[in-house]
Symmetry: C2
Subunit: 119 residues, 2 copies
Amino acid sequence: MDHDFEERCETHCVHQDKVIAAKRQMCGLGDPVRLAELFKTMGDPTRLRIIYALMNQELCVCDLAAVTGASESAVSHQLRRLRQQQLVKYRREGKMLYYSLQDNHVMVLMKQGLEHINE
Amino acid sequence: MDHDFEERCETHCVHQDKVIAAKRQMCGLGDPVRLAELFKTMGDPTRLRIIYALMNQELCVCDLAAVTGASESAVSHQLRRLRQQQLVKYRREGKMLYYSLQDNHVMVLMKQGLEHINE
DNA sequence: AATACATATGAACATATATTCATATGTACA
DNA sequence: TGTACATATGAATATATGTTCATATGTATT
């Protein structure tokens, strides 16, 4: 009968019912590739420092370089990625660009992450 | 006088007051390196699929392989990282290990991330 | 127009990372 | 004790990623 089949892994055969259920539930969630890109974007110390720095005020690129300790070029590259991921926005004022966080999703994410770290 | 100095970036000199303020505020937050590790852990499609799959039930390694489409070895490697990051736990039952999410921080993070994706 | 400056971008390089394959571990069962 | 099986682990490899250096873009100032 099928009972054993459901209760045990037979030569790398799986718990079919559970697998089917899990697959179905996963369909409702968003694309893991896109979500992974978001988290990967937040998964770099330099980019995280940039986000930290922007939590309370807008800053220009050279400010961000000074705050984070990274070069201006490195900061600029990272800002690009943060822009593409819609995590920051900027406004121009003369020669300078002032960056700020695009919405508070980012901050909520950060705070939730920090809670886990400091369990 | 210092007025210009505060208002403009002079040859890559920064808005000192803002920089100092930002630096002080950042001290209160957690270590960006550790937080980055957490996000980086969540920044991979395979690991994210594993987390997706574990949201509603515990699963063994071969189940996870079937659900995610990755090899059992790959899943095992990724589970190791998820374990180290305290995102999943497991219990043994005979030859098999049943994995599950360690706490609901992970799910909250995921849902918040998905909100950003589907802005 | 020419120069200076803030930032962006591209190429190059060194490092990190995910998967695969081979092998080891630990448990059950004969 | 020996075999089978579920999973873990290590080495190897191909790919992704972050930084640096050099150069380009766009804006203000003279």
